[in-house]
């Protein structure tokens, strides 16, 4: 009796099945594909700059300053005669470096604090949330100015300021979604199985909010790039001679009427990076959390 029955039981779906479905859905999602392409373009530029640039981004050649686009200098040269393409490529590196480290700071501290707040509840949660409200009240630019006044301007200052600015956002997102997971029955079941809060946080809460965190990190990356550009533009971020897109904008502003294109190139680079990451974030959200996609 049981032998013919078991024969008809369908085989368990192989583990790779959801992954191929994921890939197919991802490729159908236009915003995701475009976002990923733009983000990869920026990442590719940064990686390329490590190996090769058409010209050195640091060599000053005042004799050939403000050249229009040519075969030698594809996008021309800036006021110091540096090759624009090379500057953009190396600038992508600073942008990504600042973004990665700043989001890393925000993610690490923010997620830890958010998870603690959700797990401990009570006054611990109140304290963490009020502290993050307090931090949130200071824009990144303001905290960067304060930090620069103390530690001097530079890449480290801007990374720290942007990172600190990112923490409260991650605290809020983490705590909110973690609280929702804590209310689920499988967490109660895990507690009934004798698991402590720490283990539940690591094994049950974190995996279930990971997709939300990935999406948030992508969007925060875009915000970090904007903040880095703003800080470099103000002279608080990346310092010369290290090329940076914000710095290039700053250099270009005095020549806005002579060579307006000098401002357009870094501006376009920033726009591409931010647009790409935002589209990527949106796409990831639609992919990883279909419920949110339908609500929009």
């Amino acid at each position: 009796m049981s032998t013919p029955l078991t024969a008809t039981v369908p085989a368990i779906a192989p583990a790779t099945r959801p992954a191929t479905g994921f890939r197919r859905r991802a490729l159908r999602l236009r915003s995701f594909v475009l976002g990923a392409a733009l983000s990869l373009l920026v990442l590719g530029a940064a990686l390329l700059s490590l190996l090769w640039t058409p010209w050195s981004a640091y060599d000053i050649d005042v004799a050939s300053k403000l050249h229009p686009p040519s075969a030698a200098h594809w996008l021309g040269t800036d006021v110091l005669g540096r090759d624009i393409v090379s500057l953009l490529l190396v600038g992508a590196r600073s942008t990504i470096l600042v973004g990665v480290i700043a989001v890393g700071i925000g993610l690490t501290f923010g997620v830890c604090l958010g998870l603690i707040a959700a797990a401990r509840k009570g006054w611990t949660e109140e304290l963490i949330m009020r502290m993050s409200d307090f931090t949130f009240a200071f824009p990144a630019v303001l905290s960067a100015i304060m930090l620069a006044a103390v530690a001097g301007p530079g890449m480290v200052t801007s990374i720290t300021a942007i990172g600190i600015f990112q923490i409260p956002t991650f605290v809020r997102v983490t705590r909110g979604s973690a609280n929702a997971v804590w209310a689920r029955e499988f967490v109660l079941a895990a507690r009934a199985a004798g698991k402590g809060k720490f283990r539940i946080t690591i094994e049950h809460v974190l995996p279930n909010i990971l997709s939300i965190l990935i999406v948030q990190a992508t969007i925060q990356f875009a915000l970090a790039i904007l903040a880095e550009a703003a800080l470099s533009y103000l002279g608080l971020g990346t310092q010369p001679p290290q090329p940076s897109w914000g710095r290039m904008l700053n250099d270009a502003q005095t020549l806005l009427f002579q060579s307006p294109m000098l401002a357009v190139y870094p501006g376009a680079a920033i726009a591409i990076a931010v647009l790409g990451l935002n589209l990527l974030g949106d796409g990831l959200r639609d992919l990883l959390d279909p419920r949110l996609a339908r609500e929009r």
Partner: protein, 335 residues
């Protein structure tokens, strides 16, 4: 079945006060019972009567803001006021719980094998390979077909009944002394219900556990437990041997519940009997009998204070002042 003299779990005068958005609420008052090894107890009542809260209190899983009074003793040692770290050593090890919703009681991100093996690894300190082997054996015991192959599958690949079997395997992994089943079959098909209850009954018998079965279904209670308690408004209003209670119900509420059950063979179009009124809010319970507002034979003295338990038979108690009237005409399984 070994039945010793010391109760496996003994609850005396359990009280639970919850802080709700509407102010403090006395969710449970004066609940007492004792279960020896191998004994089974049923808790019946409507939603919000305090039965699930009682179960969570036994597990030490109430929110931090809840205030528990009275005493809960597991094999002689007091559980009320136990630190969370110490409670963690008991939960899933000596006292386990099966939940109502098998669809949500499993983490969608982990394989079922891992989820069944976890309490084992946690409480017995066995190796991953041993735990996995034991998990397969457990899944096999609870009747999951092809347990050896499906141990690495995820919860969404199983049906509701299969998932409930998995949660049962999880709860039984460490051979607990006390099993709390909180409406284990409410979310399942009627055909599956019987199978799951039979499985639980077999396992309780086989391992000599004490079981507390929570249900709102009188039929489930009638067939699966030796003793039962009927809860209403956070108090036990009737308790006794299941047979005794079903033979002759003493409390107007128990009688109402019994009359309200759907009956096979009733003429088409017959409306189900209901109990008039609604369950009182726990935040503002009446001073007297909690059932007073819905009771057909209520008197002024019923509203004065919570009635004491009256013995109406051998180990059959009813919290009612008017048992003389309510029990004048026998209402029970015979009628």
């Amino acid at each position: 079945m070994t039945v010793t003299d010391t109760p496996m779990i003994e609850v005396s005068d359990l009280g639970i006060r919850l802080n709700t958005s509407r102010g403090p609420a006395q969710a449970v008052r004066g609940v007492s019972f004792a279960l020896k090894r191998g004994e089974t107890l049923g808790l019946v009542g409507e939603s919000g009567c305090g039965k699930s809260i009682t179960a969570l209190a036994l597990m030490g899983l109430l929110p931090d803001s809840a205030v528990v009074s009275g005493s809960v003793r597991l094999d002689g040692s007091e559980l009320v006021g136990l630190s969370d770290a110490n409670y963690c050593k008991l939960r899933g090890n000596r006292i386990s719980m099966i939940f109502q919703e098998p669809m949500t009681a499993l983490n969608p991100m982990h394989t079922i094998g891992r989820q069944v093996a976890e309490p084992l690894r946690r409480h017995t300190g066995c190796s991953a390979a041993e735990a996995r082997k034991e998990a397969i054996a457990l899944l096999d015991r609870v009747g999951l077909p092809d347990a050896g192959k499906r141990v690495d599958a995820y919860p969404h690949q199983f049906s509701g009944g299969q998932r409930q079997r998995i949660t049962i395997a999880m709860a039984l992994a460490c051979q607990p002394d006390v099993l709390i089943a909180d409406e284990p079959t409410t979310a399942l098909d009627v055909t599956i219900q019987g199978q799951i209850l039979d499985l639980i009954a077999d396992l309780v018998e086989e391992r000599g556990m004490s079981m507390i079965l929570i249900s709102h279904d009188l039929g489930v209670i009638a067939e699966n437990v030796q003793r039962m308690m009927v809860m209403y408004g956070g108090t036990v209003i009737e308790s006794g041997e299941t047979n005794a209670v079903f033979t002759r119900m003493g409390h107007p509420y128990t009688q109402g519940l019994f009359r309200a059950r759907p009956r096979l063979g009733a003429p088409k179009g017959t409306r189900l009997t209901t109990i008039a009124g609604t369950v009182p809010e726990l935040a503002d319970l009446p001073a007297g009998c909690t059932f007073a507002d819905r009771c057909a034979i209520v008197e002024a003295r019923c509203r004065a204070a919570l009635p004491d338990v009256v013995d109406v038979g051998v180990a059959h108690g009813v919290r009612c002042l008017r048992t003389d009237v309510s029990m004048a005409t026998p209402i029970g399984a015979g009628t």
